[in-house]
Each structure stands twice: as C-alpha cells, then as structure tokens.
Amino acid sequence: MIRFEPRPPASVSRMLGVSLAAALAALVLAAIPMLFAGLSVFEAYGLMVKGAFGSLFAFTEMLTRATPLILTGLAAAVAFRAKLWNIGAEGQLYVGALAAVAVGTGAIAAPAFVLIPLVVIAGALAGGLLMLGPTLLKTRLGVDEVVTTLLLNFIVLLFVQMMLEGPMQDPMGMGWPQSEPIVDEAALPKLLDRMRIHWGLVLALAASLGVYFLLKRTVWGFEIRAVGENAAAARHAGIPVTATFMRVGLLSGALAGIAGVGEVAGLKGYLTADLSPGFGYSGIVVAMLAGLSPIGVVFAALFIASIFVGADSMSRATGVSNYLADLIVAMALLCVLVSGLFLRFKVKFITAPSAREAGQ
C-alpha cells in the first residue's frame, strides 16, 4: 500500500521541480486530446513552440499575453497565501478596465506623466474596492468569499455590458457596445515599434518584485503568511487578522484591476465586454503553478501564455479548436495540485509483510 509521511518545509529547488513536473505532465497529457482530434502529436507541439517562440513577433505576442496573467496570478497568489479565496480576479480586472476608461478617455486633460499614473491608480482602486466587499462579508459575517467573488464576476460583466450600451458607449462607435478610445496621454506606451508589447509588462514585473518584497521583508507580509498558516494561532499571537484580510483583499483586487488597465490602456485602446478571455481564472492556475511565489508567478505566466499563444497559432494552422489551450491549462492546475503532494509528503510504498515474517 501507499503511505504519505509528512516532510519538513520544502526547499526552493524541490518546489521548482514540482512545478516543472506538473507543467510537463500537463503537456504530455495534452497528447490525448490532440490524438482524439486527429493531430500528429509531435507536429502539433512543434507548431505550438513555433507559434509562441518562432519569431520576434511571436515572442512579443507571448509576452503581451503573459502581462495580464502575471498580474492576475499575483492577485491569486497573494490572496491564497492568506487563505483568502479570491476567485473574482476576472471581475476585478473588468472594473479596473472600466475605471481606466472612465479616467482615461478625455474626462481629465493632463500630460502623460500625470494621466498614466492616474489611470493605473484608478484601476487599482476599483479592483481593490470590489474585493473589499467580499472580504468584509467574510470577516464581519462569515460569508464564504469563494461564492461571493465568483458571483460578482457575473454581476460585473453584466454591469460592463450595461455601461458599454449606455452611458459609456462610444458615440462614434457606430452603435457597437464599446467605450470611447483611451486618449494618447493615458495610453501605456509600446515597448517596441510595430509590436503590441507595452509598458504593462514592466508594471507587472515591478508588481511581482513589490509583492515579493512585501511578503518576505515587511511586517505586513509576515502577518499575511502567519494568517495563511493558521488564522486562529495568528489571532492568539496578537496579529490583527481582520485588518490583514482587508489589506490582502485590497492588494489582491488592486493587482487584478491593474491587469485590466494594462489590457485596455496598453493593448486594446478601448473597452469591450470581451476584453478578457478568462485571465482571472487562468491567474489561479498561474499562482498554483508558481507555488504561490510572486517571482515564480512570472515564469508560470510565461508558461501559460506560451500555451495560449502557441495553441492559438497551432489551431489556426490545423483547424483544431483552440479550446485545447484551456484544456491544457486546466490539466496543469490538476497536475500541480497532485504533484504538490510530493512537497508535503514522502510517498512510501509499503509491501505487506510476507507470511514467513509474520509467522516469526
């Protein structure tokens, strides 16, 4: 039979090994749906690699796709560290984008060095405040935040649609449900000419370093980790648990909000209701693949982004549905969950004592 024995806290190298093993396992498992769809597996993987890394354009597209994933991944990672189950990054991303549009489409006339920070702050604030609601309900009334954040995703998306068909609709948009364009002074500049990659990536990388520093080197970060380990013990030790949940909720929502700002002010230039193909949900996978490490989130986001971009390109070449990408990402989450066992436990295969031994 199999027995699990607890291990001491894992080393960085073992955590890395577990994440890599899970990513690899998901890619290997992806061969099954590929075969089912009648693809030649190696050719399909080749097309995916080419689609994500094959040219400078492909590579920058992958980085562009990774940008919101880093931020939603951080949002999930920091919340999950405190065992605050924020599954609402999708909704927080959309309110962030909505706030960016409210501030950045000409309502305020200011030079870029004022307007860009303003747009980012507005998005962060909107996302943070949206997450504050479920956090308050959790700490004050004991309402499960998983369900409230999930339900808020639907409410927010409908709210965005309402705004885009109503007060925030572009009067020059020929009746399409889209916002007015972001003005030039509010747009995040491009990083490279003729590519879509933008300063949102720098923002995301800075956020990852910031969260790393916060968790590792500050009192608040220590409190977050302590609450996540054992909230009752943390409270007993005099850590302000409720305040910590609030801070984590605000920060987590703000990070997801900034992801929305980047998509609208850095990439698309205006808001539509299909801004995010599920970045909020993929962020959970990113965070789990990263073992909730803020630096790891960057690499996990790059991996997930290359799956999405690679599968998109492979799908265009072969005509196979690009839901394959979502499938691989979902399998990656289940794989990392299982492989996490090897961090916490030694797995021992125990053979039953033989009859002779038992007789002695």
């Binding site: 369900v147 808020l152 309402m162 990402v329 979902a330 969950l337």
Partner: protein, 314 residues
C-alpha cells in the same frame, strides 16, 4: 400592484418558476449531499457543463433521451470521482481542486463539442423532452398547468428531493454520510471507511449535479451553447448554504429563486423600456449573494466541511 398580484396568481407563472428551479434543484441536492459528507464541490459549474454537453451529444448520436440522461449522470460521476480522489484520500485543497475540476470539465466539454462539430453556424437540435400531459391531473385548475405539465426531468428532480431526504434521515447510509461530514473519526471507530463513504457520496452528488446540466440541453432547450450554464452552479452553492443543507429547504429555496426569476422576466416586459436589461440579468446573482448574507449568522456548516481526514490521525 394589481398586475403583480395577477402575475402571482397565474398558473403559467408558477409553471415557469418550477421550470427555472429544476436545474437548481438538481444542483443544490448534489451540492448538499457532497457537503453533508464534508466535501465542498466547486466542480459543480463544470459538472453542469459536462452533463449538458454529454447528455445532449449522446442523444444527438442516437441514444434515447433517457440514455442521454444516463450518459450525463455518468459524465458527472466521472468528474466527481476526480474531485473525490483529489480531496478525500489525497486530502488536497477542496477549493482549488473544485476550481480545477470546473476548468477541466468545462474546457473538455467545449473541446469535444468543437472537435465533433468543427464548423456549425447554428447548433444542431435534438428532440428534447416534451411536457407530460398526465390525463386527469393536468386538467386540475391551477395545479394542473403549474405542476403537471412539466417535463419528466422536473418530476425526477422532485423525486430526488424526497429520495435524498429519505436516505439522509431514515437510513443507516444517510446517518453515516452525515457523520463523516461532522465527525469522521467517530465513523472510523465504528469500523466504517470514511474514505469510501465520502468518495461514494461525492460521486453520487456529482452525478445528480450533472442532471441539472442535462435538463438545460434536453428539456429547457434542445441544443448545446457555449456559456449556457452561466453561473448556475455557483448559485447552487449559495443556495445550499441558504437551505441549511436540508433537502426540503433546498426545494423551497430553489422554488423561491425560480419564482423570483420568473417574476423579474415578467416585470421586464412591463418596465423593460426604462431599465436596462442587464439589471434584470444581474438579479439572480445579486439575489444569491443576498441569500448568503441573510443566513450567514446562523449558517450551521457541517463541522468537518473542508477538513480532510487522514486515517489513523487525530
């Protein structure tokens, strides 16, 4: 005011309420028995999708309607088994595993649908369940049209409420299920296997959830659409708390919810020109959050919910 009373007194309205409530009844009953055994099943949203897709596709490929229902339940059981293995013997996070199962079941259903039907502009239709016209009963005034002109799946849902209540409160199995959700160590000391009971319950609960999805494609509509589940699973998780994990209250909760939804659709035709349609579409989600807030203070969660049990460990 008169109009509102007229709506509430019409049999059509209550027929619609019951129709809207049916998938929720399946979902809440499924979620409820999983949670009674101590396992939160956030795979529900994906299991709904899988049930909707698998049931529809089986019928489309030539299985009978009841064959489709079985296939849907089987698909639900399969995803339930994944969740059960991850959360019960392996003791992994029920939150993350549930989200993982939802992402997996949803994307797999979409992928299979798209692979089987690569380029269809309008989704193919099946001959869905038709309302039963029970000879005498359906001619009763008011109750006839409201209750007895539903499709067979609605009756299955109502039957499952009774069956669940019976099993849960009147059989040794039900007591064991409740006990593993409250005090698993005590169950183990009785010589019963906590793992077996928890896993069996999660698999059975997931199969029931999938029937809610099957109702969508085989009774409410006659085709499969992307995004058709649209948060119904999450609403069921909220309703489970609202129902205090009791089958009878679950039925009442789902019916209230269905009634409210049917009511707002009718209200929409009255005042739809003043208020954007999205406000009405938001109502189910807002109502679910409100329901959670109302019961939050006195919610009596199964004591071992979310707590993994490891054999030989206290």
């Amino acid at each position: 005011m008169i109009e509102i009373i007229e709506i509430l007194l019409s049999a059509n309205f209550w027929a619609a309420a019951l129709r809207i409530a049916t998938p929720l009844i399946f979902g809440v009953i499924g979620a409820l028995i999983c949670e009674r055994a101590g396992v939160l099943n956030l795979g529900i949203e994906g299991i709904f999708t899988a049930g909707a897709m698998a049931g529809w596709m089986a019928v489309w490929l030539g299985a009978g309607l009841w064959g489709g229902v079985l296939v849907a339940a089987g698909a639900g059981a399969l995803f339930g088994l994944i969740h059960a293995i991850l959360t019960v013997p392996l003791g992994l996070s029920q939150h993350v595993s549930g989200i993982g199962v939802t992402l997996f079941a949803t994307s797999l259903s979409y992928f299979i649908y798209r692979t089987a039907l690569p380029d269809v502009s309008s989704p193919p239709r099946i001959d869905a369940f038709q309302p039963l016209d029970i000879p005498v009963l359906s001619e009763l005034p008011f109750i006839g049209p409201a209750l007895f002109q539903q499709t067979p799946l609605t009756f299955l849902a109502l039957f499952l409420v009774l069956a669940t209540a019976y099993v849960l409160y009147r059989t040794p199995l039900g007591l064991a299920i409740q006990a593993v959700g409250d005090n698993p160590a005590a169950v183990e000391s009785q010589g019963l296997s906590v793992y077996a009971i928890r896993m069996g319950t999660v698999v059975a609960g997931s199969a029931i959830m999938a029937l809610g999805g099957a109702f969508l494609t085989m009774s409410a509509f006659d085709a499969f659409f992307f995004g058709m589940v649209n948060g119904r699973g999450w609403i069921c998780i909220a309703l489970t708390v609202f129902a205090s994990w009791r089958p009878g209250k679950a039925l009442v909760g789902a019916l209230l919810f269905g009634a409210f939804d049917a009511f707002q659709v009718r209200l929409q035709t009255e005042v739809g020109s003043f208020i954007p349609g999205q406000v009405f579409l938001m109502m189910p989600y807002i109502l679910s959050i409100a329901a959670l807030i109302v019961v939050a203070r006195r919610a009596d969660y199964p004591r071992a919910l979310l707590v993994p049990y490891f054999r030989g460990q206290r």
